[in-house]
């Protein structure tokens, strides 16, 4: 297609304007609103005990959910790419469910299983274990919503790299474990890393599913996104500044995530 300079410039202008209005403006607003009343005020809101514990809880959620989903993701990707059979195919088609189901429904689902009136609720409460309205339920919700990322990043890479090198290693006498650690894992590592970045972003930012199963108590079940929600929901301008301060923490984390995504996107063998 040979496009005139004028047409090209106007298409470029429309696209860039759209991106600036939709993406850049919101981020600028977060920072502006946070530091509107000075750096000290914002810093004060970021360092209240509630804010500090919320940051730690968010990181803890990601630290539990992401490694579990990474381990599952690599194994599951190997299963669906390398094994044939009905169960592997069923697994393949069900993996995307967490992307299709609303986070609120995830929260509801966990309540129906682990809540007081849920399937196993009585058993757990008899044994003194609380899951819903406690960190355990929030961890389950976080694992649920961030589950498919690693599988979906690693599986296409596995298809692409094939298994010739692994067969060569096996011919040379390597055991399956040696082959996995020395050949398979290194060749899929960028896919794994990209999947980990996406899961981490989702785990740190999740609010819908976690909102349902959290009791919103600072210090025990309040994550950083929930703190943003709680402060923004409170009347009064000063609480709003607090909400923006917490949002700025999340925005800074997400800018780091974005940098990592950009750095690793180019290294993946395929781009989606």
């Amino acid at each position: 297609m040979v496009i005139s300079r004028r047409a090209r410039l106007s298409v470029r202008a429309v696209a860039l304007l759209y991106l600036v209005a939709l993406l850049v403006l919101p981020v600028v607003v977060v920072f502006f609103k946070t530091f509107e009343h000075g750096f000290g005020v914002a810093w004060g809101w970021m360092t209240t005990p509630a804010a500090v514990s919320a940051l730690w809880l968010s990181l803890l959620m990601a630290l539990i959910a992401v490694p579990l989903n990474t381990l599952f993701g690599v194994v599951c990707a190997l299963v669906i790419v390398r094994r044939r059979g009905r169960l592997a195919a069923v697994l393949d088609s069900l993996i995307d469910l967490p992307f299709l189901v609303s986070p609120v429904i995830v929260g509801l689902a966990l309540t129906l299983v682990y809540g007081i009136h849920g399937w196993f609720g009585t058993w757990f409460s008899d044994h003194g274990i609380q899951i819903i309205f406690a960190p355990a339920g929030m961890v389950l919700a976080t694992i649920f919503v961030s589950l498919p990322f690693v599988v979906r990043e690693v599986a296409p890479v596995l298809v692409e790299v094939g298994d010739e090198q692994e067969q060569a290693a096996a011919t040379l006498g390597a055991s399956t474990w040696q082959t996995f650690w020395r050949i398979t894992l290194p060749s899929i590592r960028w896919g794994v890393i990209y999947g980990v970045i996406l899961s981490t972003a989702r785990a740190l930012g999740e609010i819908g599913a976690v909102l349902v199963v959290s009791s919103l108590v600072a210090g025990s079940t309040l994550t950083l996104p929930l703190l943003v929600y709680q402060r923004a929901d409170q009347p009064g301008a000063s609480a709003t500044t607090g909400a923006y301060a917490a949002a700025t923490e999340l925005a800074v984390i997400s800018l780091v995530v974005l940098l990592a995504m950009t750095a690793f996107r180019a290294r993946r063998p395929q781009s989606r």
Partner: protein, 263 residues
């Protein structure tokens, strides 16, 4: 998922244990809870299921949710293709920065996006645009969070597209409009549709970016949330089941349309 040919024994091929553990993990984390929702919705009298799905609030919420999500998918398909085009076929300073920026909605927590929309278009809007608690702001929020889907699915296809065909068509006298309609668009259509389908699925279930800004504009996820909060799990489960079924139907429909038009 394209499957490799039967993997020989000598390569790393997971055994039955790996298959079993993967299945168990998925079942405990995902399938068991979702089954609980379906069971809760079904194990009540048909009349109360019917009542909780067909009351005016639920019907309204379902209609608004599906319409706004479809609108998001359609607008996202157009703007996403446009953005992908500019990123692939145009050259300008700062292009790599813009390209990196596309993933921002995946990286930024959705509640932060909602908060900023409230600042931009809420009661204290600096532009005097008051969209808070309307359907328009829901649309803006959904366009924000679903932006990367179409762009990232169209971009690689556009990059691989053989430009010689376009040049041949142009040398034969085809106008740009004809070239776009007859050559470029058919090649991009599957990618656009799959991106739009992902955007639609994401939009239907979205709550994080909307929880602060919808107010009385009751969309499905908010109604389900309100039902849970007011201790009406059966009503919540019924609406959830209908929402999942409806969005699956629309997704199948989008795939169908893609298949038919593509040929």
């Amino acid at each position: 998922m394209p499957r490799a040919r039967q993997t020989p024994r000598s390569a790393v091929r997971p055994g039955g244990l790996a298959l079993g553990l993967s299945t168990l993990y998925l079942s405990v984390i995902v399938l068991l809870p979702l089954a609980a929702v379906a069971v809760k919705a079904v194990t009540q009298s048909p009349s109360s299921f019917w009542q909780s799905v067909t009351n005016p609030t639920s019907i309204r919420a379902l209609v608004i949710t599906l319409v706004v999500s479809l609108l998001t998918a359609v607008i996202g398909a157009v703007t996403g293709t446009l953005v992908a085009w500019v990123l692939v076929r145009d050259r300008f300073p700062g292009q790599r920065f813009i390209n990196a920026l596309i993933d921002l909605p995946f990286a930024l927590p959705t509640v932060v996006a909602g908060l900023t929309l409230l600042a931009l278009y809420g009661p204290d809007s600096p532009f005097g645009v008051h969209l808070a608690f309307t359907r328009a702001i829901v649309l803006v929020a959904l366009l924000f969070i679903t932006l990367p889907f179409v762009v990232r699915s169209v971009q690689p296809v556009l990059l691989e597209l053989d430009r010689e065909v376009e040049e041949a068509a142009a040398s034969l006298g085809a106008s740009n409009g004809v070239i776009f309609r007859r050559i470029v668009l058919p090649a991009l259509r599957p990618a656009i549709l799959s991106g739009a389908a992902l955007a639609f699925a994401r939009a239907v279930g979205e709550i994080g970016s909307l929880v602060l800004i919808v107010g009385k504009t009751q969309i499905a996820s908010i109604v389900i949330f309100a039902d849970i909060e007011s201790d009406a799990p059966q009503a919540a489960a019924s609406l959830s089941l209908v929402l999942i079924v409806l969005s699956l139907l629309v997704l199948v429909l989008i795939r169908r349309v893609g298949g038919r038009v593509g040929h």
